[in-house]
């Protein structure tokens, strides 16, 4: 058998056709298969779309959950802050908003401290910026009460020499300080009976000062912490009570915010341990304004 003969025989097979009866049988089989396929596809889609919807919802929920708990060194942290900022706007009640802002501040401070402790300065700096923004928002939101509510003393001689807290000149048999302006009751003063106007005015008697009344506000103490050997200290727990929870774990510079009244004395407790020794320091300062720079805090070996 030569190649030409072989190729010629192969070419002859090109005329082979499927038998007509077999073709009809196959066509009928295909028609049935087609009908079944179409009905299965319709059923398949009807069963599939709820699965797709549930899966999408689950993915969405898990994404949101991941975002709202994203740590400061995560790429999602920016999105988390955006979501939290939107949530601030949703708190329409000032008190609610303040509570929310305070909780946010606490979270962000803790996060920044954590990042500083792990040595991630870049992320920590970013979180510190966000923390400062939060603080500004708190201050904007919080109506700062007057530090000292001190009624203006009457310089001019009063026709009625009786002590009067009210700026009005109307005679009042029992003058009393405005109760809304004080948190503590004013020093009791003797009730002065109304006297007829005198022809010669007496020199004014000194007006007794009411007790200074203040409202609590957010106060930030800042400063630097040093070790006994003069080196700057890090990982220092700062708290408001001995053994209390840390407001911040930071160093060498610190910035802690808490609620206090102007004129009130506050004590900060500094604690650091390097595994061998424990270093402590205590600082008591009188709150004079919203920002108090305490300077350098020197730790001592316990």
């Amino acid at each position: 058998m030569n190649d030409d003969r072989l190729v010629s025989l192969l070419s002859a097979l090109r005329t082979e056709r499927m038998d007509r009866h077999a073709d009809q049988k196959l066509r009928a089989r295909l028609e049935n298969a087609w009908t079944m396929r179409e009905s299965e596809r319709g059923l398949g889609w009807r069963m599939r779309w709820p699965v797709i919807a549930v899966t999408t919802a689950a993915l969405l929920v898990s994404f949101v959950a991941t975002t709202v708990s994203a740590p400061g060194d995560s790429a999602l942290y920016g999105l988390r802050v955006t979501i939290e900022d939107i949530a601030i706007a949703l708190h329409t009640d000032p008190e609610d908003r303040e509570q929310y802002l305070l909780s946010l501040l606490e979270q962000r401070t803790t996060e920044a401290a954590r990042l500083e402790a792990t040595g991630n300065a870049l992320a920590a700096g970013r979180v510190r910026d966000i923390e400062r923004q939060t603080l500004r928002m708190i201050q904007d939101n919080h109506p700062v009460a007057p530090a000292v509510v001190d009624p203006a003393p009457t310089d001019s001689p009063s026709p009625n020499p009786s002590a009067s807290m009210a700026p009005s000149l109307s005679p009042s048999p029992t003058p009393s300080p405005d109760p809304t302006a004080t948190q503590h009751p004013a020093t009791p003063r003797p009730t002065v009976a109304p006297t007829p106007p005198a022809t010669t005015p007496k020199p004014p008697t000194p007006t007794p000062k009411p007790t200074a009344t203040v409202a609590a506000q957010l106060v930030t103490f800042t400063g630097n912490i040093k070790n006994p050997d003069g080196t700057y200290a890090t990982n220092v727990c700062i708290s408001l009570s001995i053994g209390g929870s840390c407001l911040d774990v930071t160093g060498p510079s610190f910035s802690v915010t808490f609620s206090a009244k102007v004129g009130e004395s506050k004590t900060l407790y500094f604690l650091r341990s390097d595994g061998l020794k424990t270093y402590k320091a205590t600082l008591t300062k009188t709150v004079s304004s919203a920002y108090v720079d305490v300077g350098i805090v020197l730790l001592r070996v316990q």
């Binding site: 058998m1 190729v7 192969l10 090109r14 005329t15 049988k25 196959l26 298969a33 087609w34």
Partner: protein, 209 residues
């Protein structure tokens, strides 16, 4: 007919219309079939029924088995139509691939290899009934020889010499280079000639005895 009757007729399940007759490229027909056009699939069936049948014939050696195998190929193609993607693989190559796998599956269940004696009793196809006896015998021997080839040799022989595809087209369908197809074709022809001669001798021996 009332309006309600019309609704009933529309709503009743009707057999799919696979008559074909639709024009367009294979790609367009596949897209239409995927989106539920039965006649598009019917047209694809019309186009490739006989080439696939001939391929199956070269694998099975008998028209009866080739018909069964062709039927399996098209039903499988229909079921896997959604998975077919036109990434440079022509639809016919997709069909050949299914046919090859179906033939391999079928050969696993085949009890005995085909013998020449079995084939010479197999009537020639109805369109070749007028062909002379010699040609019919040679055809039968050729089919036996084809079934004894390796798969890749047989694929090249069928696509190049029976279906008349170019070496480039065969290369694309088999995922080989054109040069590799030409080399394969040369070896396949040599092997086929040897198998043909062996089958011819075997038949002559059988007749003498």
């Amino acid at each position: 007919m009332k309006q309600g009757d019309a609704d009933v007729v529309v709503g009743r399940a009707r057999p799919a219309d696979l008559t074909g007759g639709v024009t367009g490229t294979d790609e367009a027909l596949v897209r239409a079939a995927k989106s539920g056009d039965a006649s598009a699939f019917g047209e694809l069936y019309e186009r490739y029924r006989d080439p696939i049948y001939r391929y199956c014939l070269s694998r099975t050696g008998t028209s009866h088995d080739a018909e069964d195998l062709t039927s399996d190929v098209f039903v499988k193609a229909l079921h896997s139509l959604d998975r077919y993607q036109e990434r440079g693989l022509p639809f016919v190559a997709f069909l050949y691939r299914i046919a090859r796998n179906a033939a391999i599956d079928r050969s696993r269940t085949l009890k005995q290899p085909l013998s020449v004696d079995e084939l010479v009793t197999e009537p020639a196809s109805r369109q070749n009934v007028e062909a002379d006896a010699t040609l019919a015998v040679d055809r039968s021997i050729l089919l036996v020889a084809l079934t004894k080839l390796k798969t890749e040799h047989r694929d090249v022989i069928v696509m190049r010499f029976i279906e008349g595809y170019s070496a480039l087209e065969v290369a694309a369908a088999l995922g080989k280079t054109e040069g590799a197809v030409r080399t394969l074709q040369h070896r396949a022809l040599e092997r086929l000639r040897k198998e043909f001669d062996d089958a011819q001798r075997e038949m002559a021996k059988g007749r003498r005895s």
